[in-house]
C-alpha cells in the first residue's frame, strides 16, 4: 500500500515538471507562439468566414439549380405542346398513304383563305395548310393549339371538282368551325392526357401512350367513325349564319355542296367522303330557306 502511494506521488511530480526545451518537438514549440483566438479574430475581420459561407451558399444554389434543370428536362409537354407534336407524328407515320410529300405548284391559297377568315372575324389567328396527293380525306383539321389551325386538303379531290381557291377556302372554313368546336381533338382525346400534360417523369420513362393513341384515334376516325349528322348539322348552320352576310360566298358554298354531292354519288374514288362528312345532300337541305306561309 505504501509502495503504491509512493509510485503515484512520483508520477504526479513528473507530470508537473516541465519538459526541457531542447527535448520538445518543433511543432510543440510552434503551438506556443500561435494564438488561435487571435487567428480566429483575424479571419473574422478579413471576412474570410463570410466568404466561406457565401461560397457554400453559392454551391448549394448551383446544385439546386442543376437539380431543377434536370427535373425540367423530364417535363411531360403541356397540351399546347402535345397536340401539334402528336398530330405531326401522325402525319409523318402516315406519309405514304396521305402522300403529302409530292412536287406541286404554289397554290397561293393562304391569301384567299386569310381573306375569308378576316371576313368572318377571325383576326389574329394563325393557320397552316398541307396539301395531300391522296383522294381522302378531302379536307380535315388536325388537333393543334388554340391560336393556330392545322388544315389539310386533298389536291385530287379539288382537281376532280375543279375547285377555285375560294371554294377550297370555304371547305377549310368548315374545318376551322369544327376546330373551334373541339373536333376532332376532343373526339380523339386520350384518357390519360389531362393527368400527364405538364407532369414530371423524373426517375422514370415518359408515358408515351397518349401520343400513339392520338394517331390510332385519328386513323380510326377517318376510316370508320367520321362526323355524325348532328355535328354536320351544327357546322352547316354555323356556315349559314357566317356567310349569310356575304351572299356571293353563301351562293358559292351552296354550289360547292351541290358539286360534292354529285361527285360522291357518281365517283366511287370519293365515296368514302360520305363516311367522314354526312351528307352534302342533307347540308343543302339544311341551308335551304324555310317555307314560311305569308
Amino acid at each position: 500500500m505504501i509502495g503504491t502511494l509512493a509510485f503515484l506521488a512520483v508520477l504526479t511530480l513528473r507530470a508537473q515538471t516541465p519538459v526541457p526545451n531542447d527535448a520538445r518537438l518543433p511543432q510543440e514549440k510552434e503551438l506556443d507562439v500561435v494564438d488561435f483566438q487571435h487567428v480566429k479574430d483575424v479571419l473574422k475581420k478579413d471576412g474570410l468566414m463570410q466568404e466561406v459561407r457565401r461560397k457554400k451558399e453559392e454551391v448549394a444554389r448551383i446544385q439546386g439549380l442543376r437539380v431543377e434543370q434536370e427535373r425540367a428536362r423530364h417535363a411531360w409537354p403541356s397540351e399546347d405542346d402535345f397536340w401539334p407534336l402528336a398530330s405531326e407524328l401522325w402525319l409523318v407515320k402516315n406519309a405514304p398513304s396521305l402522300k403529302w410529300d409530292f412536287d406541286r405548284p404554289e397554290y397561293g391559297l393562304e391569301e384567299t383563305f386569310a381573306q375569308l377568315l378576316r371576313t368572318t372575324g377571325r383576326i389574329g389567328k394563325h393557320f397552316r395548310i398541307l396539301a395531300l396527293d391522296a383522294p381522302a380525306p378531302a379536307h380535315f383539321n388536325l388537333p393543334w393549339t388554340a391560336q393556330e389551325y392545322c388544315l389539310l386538303f386533298s389536291v385530287p379531290f379539288a382537281r376532280t371538282l375543279d375547285l377555285s381557291k375560294t371554294e377550297i377556302s370555304l371547305l377549310l372554313l368548315e374545318e376551322v368551325l369544327r376546330a373551334d368546336e373541339g373536333w376532332p381533338r376532343e373526339l380523339v382525346r386520350p384518357a390519360k392526357l389531362k393527368e400527364l400534360a405538364g407532369s414530371n417523369f423524373t426517375g422514370a420513362k415518359p408515358d408515351l401512350t397518349p401520343v400513339f393513341e392520338v394517331g390510332t384515334g385519328l386513323t380510326d376516325f377517318l376510316r370508320d367513325k367520321g362526323y355524325s349528322f348532328q355535328q354536320q348539322f351544327l357546322i352547316t348552320k354555323k356556315m349559314d349564319s357566317l356567310l349569310k352576310a356575304h351572299p356571293e360566298l353563301w351562293n358559292a358554298y351552296v354550289r360547292l355542296l351541290g358539286k360534292i354531292d354529285r361527285l360522291v354519288k357518281g365517283n366511287p374514288t370519293h365515296a368514302s367522303y360520305l363516311k367522314l362528312f354526312p351528307s352534302p345532300e342533307m347540308q343543302i337541305r339544311w341551308l335551304a330557306p324555310e317555307d314560311k306561309p305569308l
Binding site: 417535363a75 409537354p77 407534336l85 409523318v92 394563325h126
Partner: protein, 133 residues
C-alpha cells in the same frame, strides 16, 4: 434647303419601313426554328436534302456573288455543307425549341432516320399564314 433635307430624311425613313424585314444578316450566325428540316441542294421545295437539321441548330448565312437566291430562301453553311434553307425557318435569336424544353420526352419517341427525314420534309410543305387586321 431645309425642306430638301426633310424630304430626304422622310424618303429614307419610308424606304427603311418598306424594305422587307430580314431576320438574319449574311455572314452572321442564325438558328433553325422549325422542329426539323432540311438543308437543300437548291433553293426549291423538291430539291434533294444535303442534311437534316433540328430546331436550334446554328447555321452561318453566306453571301456568294455567284449564287442568286430569292427572298424566301437563305444560302447557308452547315458544317461542310453549303445549301439552302427556307428563310421563314431562320432567326437571329436562339429559338425556344420543343427538343430543348422536353429533351427526354423527344428522345423517348425514338424516331428512326426515315421519320426524321419525313418530319423535316413536312416543314418544307406547310403553307403558313396569319390573319392580319
Amino acid at each position: 434647303m431645309e425642306s430638301v433635307k426633310t424630304a430626304v430624311v422622310l424618303f429614307l425613313a419610308a424606304a427603311a419601313l418598306a424594305a422587307p424585314k430580314k431576320a438574319t444578316v449574311p455572314g452572321g450566325t442564325v438558328y433553325f426554328t422549325a422542329l426539323l428540316g432540311h438543308v437543300h441542294q437548291a433553293p426549291s421545295r423538291p430539291s434533294p436534302s444535303l442534311t437534316t437539321i433540328q430546331c436550334g441548330h446554328p447555321l452561318r448565312e453566306v453571301s456568294d456573288p455567284k449564287v442568286v437566291v430569292g427572298g424566301e430562301w437563305a444560302h447557308v453553311q452547315v458544317a461542310d455543307h453549303r445549301g439552302f434553307v427556307w428563310r421563314r425557318h431562320l432567326s437571329g435569336k436562339r429559338p425556344n425549341c420543343f427538343q430543348a424544353r422536353h429533351p427526354k420526352f423527344f428522345d423517348a419517341l425514338q424516331l428512326d432516320l426515315a421519320e426524321l427525314y419525313y418530319w423535316g420534309r413536312l416543314y418544307d410543305h406547310w403553307e403558313e399564314g396569319e390573319v392580319g387586321p
